[in-house]
Amino acid sequence: MGPNLFINYGEAVAMLLFGIGFGNLLLQSNLIKKIIGLNIMDTAVYLFLAEKGYIAGRVAPIVSDGVQDMEAYINPIPSGLVLTGIVVSVSVSALMLALTIRLYRRYHTLDLDEISRQLKKEGL
């Protein structure tokens, strides 16, 4: 173990959330819960990034009172990346939900294992 685990507690929680989301995506057989797990996983990464951009004692990167000093503001790059990422994750989850609706219409269940069992039973 390195020295910084308790200083980096925010990142540690982000990693924990990433693990939970990953597990949900891998283990839950219910599709809706899989999608929630996916969202949790994504937001965990964004939390990690936001924590990395934060600098103690500085304010959000919006120029006020003409102060343009590096010492005054936090790092703007992670915020920009997360902004991009949030939009990507909402479009991915909308697509997954649409797929879920179609799958439900066809097989009348949300359980992915059940669906593949039905498919195999049909002998396709």
Partner: protein, 114 residues
């Protein structure tokens, strides 16, 4: 501020775990909504208001609405009286007949509560 952030982080973990173990889909989506809101508060604490606005509008708002619309489409949101029957039907899920019956019921009931 640190204590406040720690409490929020704790909430996040609790929400994430309870999403995984909640039985009702509607509950898990509500929990996910609160997860998103907590996340956006946390981002305000981390001095990123841009993210907080976007997450509150997109993550907690539109994504959750899409989840609800999906639940409505797949008939997971039911009116209370029907709930008991359908959970009973769910329990013996292997019996395909019962499932079909409940579906037929859902279809009949659908225009009424849509």
């Amino acid at each position: 501020m640190t204590i406040f952030q720690s409490i929020l982080l704790g909430f996040l973990v609790v929400c994430a775990i309870s999403v995984s173990f909640s039985r009702n889909l509607l509950n898990s989506i509500l929990i996910y909504m609160s997860y998103s809101l907590i996340m956006s508060i946390l981002w305000v604490c981390l001095e990123s208001p841009d993210l907080a606005i976007t997450e509150a509008a997109v993550g907690a708002g539109v994504t959750s609405i899409l989840f609800f619309a999906t639940l409505k489409k797949i008939q997971a949101i039911r009116i209370e009286s029907e709930k008991a029957e359908t959970t009973a039907a769910k329990n013996n899920d292997a019996a395909a007949q019962g499932r079909q019956e409940s579906e037929a019921k859902d279809r009949k009931a659908e225009p009424a509560h849509e």
